[in-house]
Subunit: 270 residues, 4 copies
């Protein structure tokens, strides 16, 4: 009797058709970050029980654009790049759970199906979007990753522009922000097919990078940043009241799973 | 303490940003179907326990292209059509569970994120693809839905063509095939975030249309049908050994949930 | 010595790789039209010498969305629909030349390369855009082409929404507007490669349909119409001051060339 | 009387809506090149009179993938990157005209409308395609621009894969090939709107870079290279008979016009 394999649907005997290969997943990418503050009430609204606001700087938000190349262990996706390259734009806030501070992605758009599928496993609330970022380059008019380098970025979904930014790098700094620096606390849920008000799975998980390397972080002046309204989005509710700073950094990351934080159907660490 | 709402992530107080509105979901669309037979072993490989082969004609397959306009109850997606139109191409086989015959979608590609998300709720193993279908039209060179009308269709993913067909309608017939005519038996599973070899949810559900209306079904000659190889697909394992028939039909469908058939973690009808 | 053939680049011995097949080109499609008036000065600005404003109703504008299936004589593009289907949104005004009234497309967006190439031959100033239109359908929630049918449409380019409309059909009328009803007067120009302020070709041509068939035209209430600003567009300069009417019609059209109206480098009918 | 401006249609008083800004155009990009030989007859077929085969190595071909960021003088397109980034894949051969050797692009695919429009001015026979290239990155699994770095690339059009390559960098070399190293000799033509067998413009132009800077060129082993058939392409007629070499290089380029080589309607240097 043949056994089905595959990390994610569709499954088959060989597992070859699965939308996702098995972790670990490896990433090379550039991060353009805008950190700012909103009324903490805006963040509180996006935190389901039992998560609460972070104790320090509870209104801090990071809006991040990322340009990724990703692959599984055999690197096949790197060499057939339509299967491994993607871009994303996402909003990270912080929250507390049982006295610990976590980061949490509240909105995220990507431009590939495999990135959506990874997000389902990892608890990211992904939608498809159109994301563009200026890329650094050593020759010609494109910017270098160095003071004076100017980078733009945009996000659209459903043919509406949702966010855009322009930043100018100023100087090296120890890190590219603090809002996205904690382990992530993310919800995963599946509704009952008969009574969708009932959850078949409802849990909070935590995930972090399994390994991380990076170039120097650069602070950046925020020349332009706008969050634009759309009928099916609520990004504009998170419009900045006060800017913290802009950042740019090139990183290499490996992701390889996480831990269950809370089973909303049955208690912590069920 | 604000409560989060939204049928699907991302959730918020208003639920406005959710990728999916609540069911029921309503659809208008055209279906181009190619039915054929393969060695039943090819189908057996795609059926996880406790599903088995259908008793009659166990090697029958339906390859279906569909061009949909879809919406929730308020029809908002119809009038902002980037949010409601999508196309799909999918492969349906039949299976048996506890003596009853079910249809089962084993591969499916769509061209929107909301269609992927619906598929996650409904147990369809969706990927993104590029799908094109000739559309009927009453004037000019495009075909009518009538004998002699000729329709083409194609499917690609990751910049590779995976399937293509051309059919010519011949005569009205009672139905547009039998392979996709049963309730669907689909798996839904979520892997543990710490040990992904463990399932947190693993179930078989059944779903059907809540309502259905349709125009006449037309039989069609199959002028061309090809399933093409790709490094991350296994469609070509389902290449036809014998054709059953081609079909075209315009339909209106409502979907509104289903039933749990089997909890693989805990027994039937848990 | 082999001869190169092909209606449009790239050319080759067989001509098979040419982006365009030879005319005549045949079209089946649906047209959603919004007619309105602006200050005639706004239109005057878009008419190069020797074109002038139309004598009657010189401020009339038609904004048209069209959903096309197109093909050459052998219909190959209909049956491999990725090569023949496209959508467009365009703005038509009227003008006069030597005492005759012409229609003139001043802005147009399409979603395929072959449509851009046809536009170069025909003098349409095409850009790529993302265009969506509600499609009529006989079953389910989508509208019928009949009184009460409600249709939406949108246009975006460079990830910014540029235009959107919603109309509700009311009653049959003799035609779907008058602004796009004349032969087209379009400019074609090619700049010198050494001194681009010099034109190598600069002419005004006229083209019409070679044949035309259509279903009933329907008048429509304009429930919503918006032209939105963008840094590289000037659509918002053509915002309506007064609406004339909305229309919907299904048509079949053949295009097969036109006439030279004026050679700007050397006189009329050179 | 208002004057229309704009380098390319659509034109307006401000010129703001034009699809192209005025040259010079500036580019930063990466080039992955595969050079090889075919039967010179295959190249002869693609050279219109009065161009002839190059005297030395007349069967040499370069297949090049390029990942570009481009802008006009004000760099606006760099900071709204959806308006300036694009990728292309193209085939270059060599030819002779009046005793001088030129390069000539015989097939090219790009993924933006502004790149198509530039190509019309420059005489490149552009179509839309889907192009992907591995990008170098200093961290994580993506390759460095250094010996051992492995890069993949693909091209598709009309949902069919047309070309793919994988190369591994081996050592620094003086240049990234010779086939694309001459001034380009390109045809530009516009057909008469009434009698399309008559040309209104038909000329051969030559263009080169106005300035050029570059990093080290790297030779590369060709791990994989395939040209695939498609019903509307003739790339497979240029399948390699013998490989010359693979190359990778990062460059900065400015383009600012060229010269008329030959007016096919009226003689050389008309």
């Amino acid at each position: 009797m043949p056994q089905q394999t595959g990390f994610f649907p569709p499954r088959s005997v060989s597992g070859r058709a699965a939308l996702l290969p098995e972790p670990p997943w490896h990433y090379s990418g550039d991060l353009l970050t805008i950190e700012y503050r909103v009324d903490p009430h805006r963040i509180r609204e996006l935190l389901p029980e039992p998560l609460g606001l972070a104790e320090e700087d509870p209104g801090a938000v990071a809006f991040i654009w990322a340009d990724w190349q990703s692959c599984a262990t055999d690197k096949a996706q790197l060499l057939d790049p339509v299967r491994g390259q993607y871009k994303e734009a996402f909003v990270v806030v912080r929250c507390s759970f049982e006295g610990q501070t976590f980061s949490r992605c509240v909105y995220i758009w990507v431009d590939s199906d495999f990135a959506i599928a990874r997000g389902l496993h990892q608890g990211y609330p992904k939608k498809l979007g159109a994301i563009h970022m200026t890329r650094p380059h050593p020759y010609g008019p494109a910017p270098r990753v160095a003071p004076g380098g100017q980078f733009g970025a945009s996000l659209a979904a459903s043919d509406r522009r949702l966010a855009e930014a322009v930043v100018t790098l100023t100087e090296e700094v120890p890190s590219n922000g603090f809002v996205n620096g904690h382990p992530m606390a993310h919800n995963r849920f599946v509704r009952d097919i008969q009574d969708p008000s009932v959850m078949r799975l409802d849990e909070i998980i935590s995930t972090s990078s399994a390994s991380f390397e990076a170039g120097p972080a650069f602070a950046a002046d925020i020349d332009h940043f706008a969050l634009l309204p759309a009928p099916t989005e609520e990004l504009d509710l998170l419009a900045p009241e006060e800017f913290i700073g802009g950042y740019y950094r090139q990183v290499g990351v490996t992701w390889n799973g996480g831990q269950l934080l809370h089973d909303n159907l049955g208690g912590t660490n069920a």
